[in-house]
Point group: C2
Chain length 365, copies 2
Amino acid sequence: MTDSPARILRPGQTIGILGGGQLGRMLAEAASALGLKVHVHCPEAGSPAFDVAARHTLAAYDDLDALDAFAAAVDVVTYEFENVPGPTAAHLASRVPVRPGPRALAVAQDRLSEKDFLAAAGIALAGYAAIDTLSDLTQALARFGGKGVLKTRRFGYDGKGQVMIRDASAAAEAFTSLGGAGLVLEALIPFEKEVSVVAARSVTGEVAAYDITENHHEHHILKTSTVPAKVSPGTAAAARQIAGQILTALDYVGVIGVEMFVVGTGADEHLLVNEIAPRVHNSGHWTQDACLVSQFEQHVRAVAGWPLGSAARHSDVVMENLIGAEVDAWQTILTEPAARLHLYGKAESRPGRKMGHVNRIAPRS
Amino acid sequence: MTDSPARILRPGQTIGILGGGQLGRMLAEAASALGLKVHVHCPEAGSPAFDVAARHTLAAYDDLDALDAFAAAVDVVTYEFENVPGPTAAHLASRVPVRPGPRALAVAQDRLSEKDFLAAAGIALAGYAAIDTLSDLTQALARFGGKGVLKTRRFGYDGKGQVMIRDASAAAEAFTSLGGAGLVLEALIPFEKEVSVVAARSVTGEVAAYDITENHHEHHILKTSTVPAKVSPGTAAAARQIAGQILTALDYVGVIGVEMFVVGTGADEHLLVNEIAPRVHNSGHWTQDACLVSQFEQHVRAVAGWPLGSAARHSDVVMENLIGAEVDAWQTILTEPAARLHLYGKAESRPGRKMGHVNRIAPRS
C-alpha cells in the first residue's frame, strides 16, 4: 500500500507503534488524548507502553505472521527507536503507511549513510571518514590531528559502540575492539556546547521546530536539557533552520531529533550537526510542560496525517533525566511546586536505565 | 481493610477506577504519566477508558465476584461518577481503600443529604425543601414565591430528573412526572453567574483549590468554562475557601467539583453553593492546559496518597465542550494555534453526548 495520496486518520483509528519503551508510552498517552487508539508491537514482555495501549503484540520484529496481523490491525505505523530492522520496516510499508518512511530510517540507522546524506544536503558536519581497515583508520587519524572518536556505523547509543582515540598508537586496539569493520571515525570537535533541536514535519510538508535546547551528558547519557540555550539569536535561528532543512531533504513525516555542537564564540559561533534520531527525542521531553503541544502530540499529529500544532514555548524549563536509583527521589520531587514528574512505569531500576524525568518550569525569561 | 494509617502507593502500583468514560480515560492518562497502572471496572463494552488501562474488568457494579477480583488486583479504588451504588462502594471499602470515601459518595449522590450536610457545615445555599408529598410541595412553593426547581434526590445529571415550576398550578403535574416521592424543591435563584471551583484534598489534609471558573450551559449541559471568571477578588477567594471547607468537613481525599451561583452585584456579590460532585469535574478540564498540574494528575496524586501539586494557573483559558456533532470540527480546531483538542475516543457521536473538548489558551491577563 503506498502512502500517496497521504492517508489521514480519523479519531478512533489506530496508530501502530514499533517498540514499547518510555517513548512509546508517552506517544500512547498523547494519542489517547487526541481520541486515537494505539497498538504496540514489541518483543519484550512487560514493556512500559503496553499499559496504555488498547492492544499490544508480544512478538519478534522478524515474525512475519505477527507483522502481517499488526499491519492489518492498524492505520499507520510509527516507531519509537531507530534500530527497527530494515526488512521489518519494508515488510510493513508494503501493507500500511510507515511514518517516518523507511528511507529516513535507513539513513539514520547507519552513521556513515547519515553523514553522507547530511553532507550532500549541504549541512555542516564535523570531519568524518569511513573506516573498514586499519589503514583507513591510520590515514583518517593523520588527517584529524591524530585524534577522533571511532564508532560503529550501526546500533550505537548512550556511548555504546564507540571508543575515543587520543593518540594514534591506540588506533589498532580501538579498531579491533569495535569489530574491525563497518566503522566511522569522527574528528574531535573542540565544542562549546552540545545542543539539539526537535522538529516535526507533516504529510503536507509543513515544518514546526521547537526552541534549541542545551544538553548536558553524564557517562554518555543525557542528564539535563535546558531551554533557553545560551546561544546567540542567530545560532538559535540557524539551528531550527537546519532541522527544517534536514526534514525536507528526507521528505520526512513525524518528529526528528537533531543533535548539534556549538563551535566557536562571539561572531565565530556556529553549528555542526552531530547526529539525527528519526523519532521523538529525550532532549524534547521538556516540551511536555513548557509548550502547549508536546513533541509526543506533534509526532502523533504528523503520523496521523493531521496538521502540526504550535511549537511555541510558554515557559523556561530544565529537563532532568532520572537514571537508575535517582528515581528514588520521586517523593521529594512531587513536593517541588514548579516540578512536573514523569515516570515510565518500569518495574526495576538498574544503573544507567532511564526511569523517568522531571521538568522544572520557570516563567519565560 | 481500613485506610488508617493512610496507604501510600509506590510507582508501578495500580489505581482501580469505577467507570470507564472520558473522566476515567483522562485519569488513566494522568496516572500513566506518573508511572502508575490503571485497572478500570465498568459494565459497558468499548468504554473509552479501557483503551488506556493496563487491565479492565467488564462486569456489573453488583457482581460481587468481579468486585472481589478487582479489589484484589488494585491498591486503591476511586471512581469517575457519583452514582456508584452504595453497596458496591461499601463492599470494596472493606477490602481496599476507596477514595474519596464512601461517606462523601453517600452525601453527594443524594441531593437532600448533600444540602443538609452543606447547611450543617455552615455553607450558604439556596433555599430547599424535602418533597415527599404533594402537600410538601405546595407548602414549599408558598415559601419560595410559587416558583422553584423540583429535582429527584438521586441520579439526576445534565438536566435529567428535574422540572422547572414557574407557577403553583403546575405543581401536581411536575410532582407526578418525577415519581411523586424522593424529591427536593430548590428555590429559584436570581443569579448573575454560574461558577465552580475544582479543588483537591490529600490524605494528610492538604488542600489545593484551582481558580474559580465561570460556566455557561446550553440545554442543561456545560458548554464553556472561562478562567478567569468575572467576579471580585473577594468572591474568587471566598469560592476557593468554601471548596476547602467542604473538603475538610467531608474528610475528603481526591478532587471535588463545587458548583455555585454568584448572586448580587458590587458590594452585594456573594456565593450560594448549588451542588457538589465527588470526582474530577467537567468544569476543571481547563486545568489540563492552563496549569502545570491538571485536575486529573491532582486526583491521581491524592488517591495515591501522594502530596498535591500546585494548583497555580499560568494562562487564561476558555474550555469548550464538543457535544454531539460539534466534534466534526476537529480538523479545524487542530489548525488553531492556541487551541488544544481533547477527544475521548467514543466510536459514535449522538446528540447531547460529550465527545471531546477544546481548551483555548491566552497569556495570563
